[in-house]
Symmetry: C2
Subunit: 248 residues, 2 copies
C-alpha cells in the first residue's frame, strides 16, 4: 500500500489520504490522530459509472469519520475512475446507452458485465483489508456500504470475507447473484427502489429473499434507480453503525 | 362520548380514561393537564383477536404521550374486546382455527370477514374524531397506527377521513383492499413479514404498490405474522412522529 498524497486534514478533523495497492487507486479517511485499536472500518463501494471520490461517497465517508469515529475506505472499481478501461469496458459503456435509448431490457446484460467486474474487485478489497491490518491500523469490525454496482461487488465480498460484519446493499438483483447471497450471513439492510428502471423489482425482491442472513431488512421506496430518499441513506448509515458498535 | 372511568394518572404523567361512544368502548390517553391546542392524536388499531387494552397497544399509547406529548385513542373493533360477538364472529373464530390446523389457505376468507368488520369500524373511528373535536380537545394532526386487522380498518379510514395525516400499516394484503389503498394519499410506512403465514407475500407487496401515497416506504423483515422486530415497531413510531410534528 503506497500512499500517493500527503494526509489532508479538514477543519473538522477528518484526514484523507490517497493510496494505490497493486495498481488499484483508493482513498482512506480517518479521524485525525494515531490509529485506535478496534476502530471500525467502513468499505464504500461506488455505483456503476461512479468512482472513489464521487460526491455522495465522500460525504458518506466523512460522516463515518466525523459522527462515528470510524475509518472509511473507497476503491475505484475495475474500469472506473482513474483505472484503465478494457476494450470490454468501452463496449459496455457505449452499448448500455444504446440499449437504454432503444428501451431494451438490460438487466441480464448488465448482470453479466458487472459480475465480471466483481470477480476482479473482490480480491482487491481483501488485499486492502490485509494491507491495513499489516500497517498496524488496529482495525476493528468492518462494514460494507454499496448500492447497485457496489452491491454486485459487495455481496460476493461479504460471502467470502469473514471480516465483514454488517452490510448495506441494494439496487440490484439478478439470478446470477443468488448463490453468493445465500453465503452472506451477517446483518444486511437492503434498499430497493419500487420503480427502478434498471433493476426488475422481482429480481431485487428475490435477491433479498436469497440472502442467508438471519437478520436482514428490506426498505423499499417509490422512485427510480437514482431516487433513493436522503432519509433512507441516513437510516442505512445508522444501521451499519448500530451493528459495528455492537461488535466493537 | 361518555367517560366510564375516572381519569387515572400514572407517575409519569400519562392520564388514561375509558369511554363509550354509541356503544363502542374505547380508551383515551393524554398528557396530564388541560387540552393543548393542536396536539397530535394517534389512533391505535389493534390486531385480530386483540382489543383496546392489549399490552403492546397500551405500551405504544403510553410512549405516544410520554415521549411525544401526543394524545392516543383505541377502540375495540367490532366483535372484539368488550363488544358482543355476532353469530358470524363466533363462526369466524371457530373456523379460522380449524382451517389453520388443516393447513388450508385462509387469506381470501379472512379478507372477506375482516372487510365486513372494517365497514362497521370506519364510521366508528370518524365518530370518535368528531366527538373529541366537539369536546374542545383542540386536536391537531391525526396519525393512524395499526397492523393486520388494524390495517384492514385503517386503510379505508385513511382513504375516507381527511383528518388522518400519516399512517403505519402492514401485515395485510388482499385484492379487496386495492381500491381503498389507491385513495390513500398521506405518507405511509408499511410493515411486511417475509415469512408471514397468514398473509401471502405477493398480496402484501401488491397492496403497498397500490397505495396512492407519493411518500410511502416498505419495511420487510424475516419471520412470521407475530415476529415484527421491536426495532421496526419503534421505527414506525418515529415515522409517525416525524410526520405529525411536521404538520403540527
Amino acid at each position: 500500500m503506497h500512499f500517493t498524497s500527503e494526509p489532508e486534514t479538514s477543519a473538522d478533523g477528518v484526514t484523507q489520504r490517497r493510496f494505490t495497492l497493486d495498481g488499484v487507486p483508493g482513498v482512506l479517511w480517518q479521524p485525525d490522530g494515531p490509529p485506535l485499536d478496534g476502530r471500525p472500518l467502513v468499505l464504500l463501494g461506488h455505483g456503476g459509472g461512479q468512482h472513489k471520490l464521487g460526491p455522495g461517497l465522500v460525504d458518506r465517508a466523512r460522516r463515518c469519520v466525523r459522527r462515528h469515529g470510524y475509518a472509511a475506505v473507497a476503491l475505484d472499481a475495475p474500469g472506473h475512475g482513474e483505472r484503465p478501461r478494457t476494450a470490454q469496458d468501452e463496449r459496455f459503456a457505449t452499448e448500455i446507452g444504446q440499449l437504454l435509448a432503444a428501451g431494451r431490457p438490460i438487466s441480464a446484460w448488465v448482470a453479466r458485465h458487472t459480475a465480471a467486474l466483481a470477480e476482479r474487485a473482490v480480491p482487491e478489497w481483501v488485499a486492502v483489508l490485509d494491507a491495513l491490518a499489516e500497517r498496524g491500523e488496529g482495525l476493528g469490525p468492518v462494514g460494507y456500504w454499496g448500492l447497485s454496482l457496489g452491491s454486485v461487488i459487495g455481496i460476493p465480498l461479504a460471502a467470502a470475507e469473514p471480516r465483514v460484519a454488517a452490510a448495506v446493499f441494494g439496487l440490484t438483483g439478478h439470478a446470477s447473484q443468488t448463490e453468493a447471497a445465500g453465503l452472506v450471513g451477517v446483518p444486511v439492510e437492503f434498499l430497493l427502489q419500487w420503480d427502478d428502471e434498471l433493476v426488475p423489482r422481482e429480481g431485487a425482491l428475490a435477491l433479498f429473499g436469497a440472502l442467508g442472513s438471519r437478520e436482514k431488512t428490506l426498505h423499499a421506496n417509490p422512485g427510480g434507480h437514482l431516487d433513493v430518499p436522503e432519509l433512507e441513506l441516513a437510516s442505512s448509515e445508522g444501521f451499519l453503525a448500530r451493528h459495528l458498535d455492537a461488535v466493537r
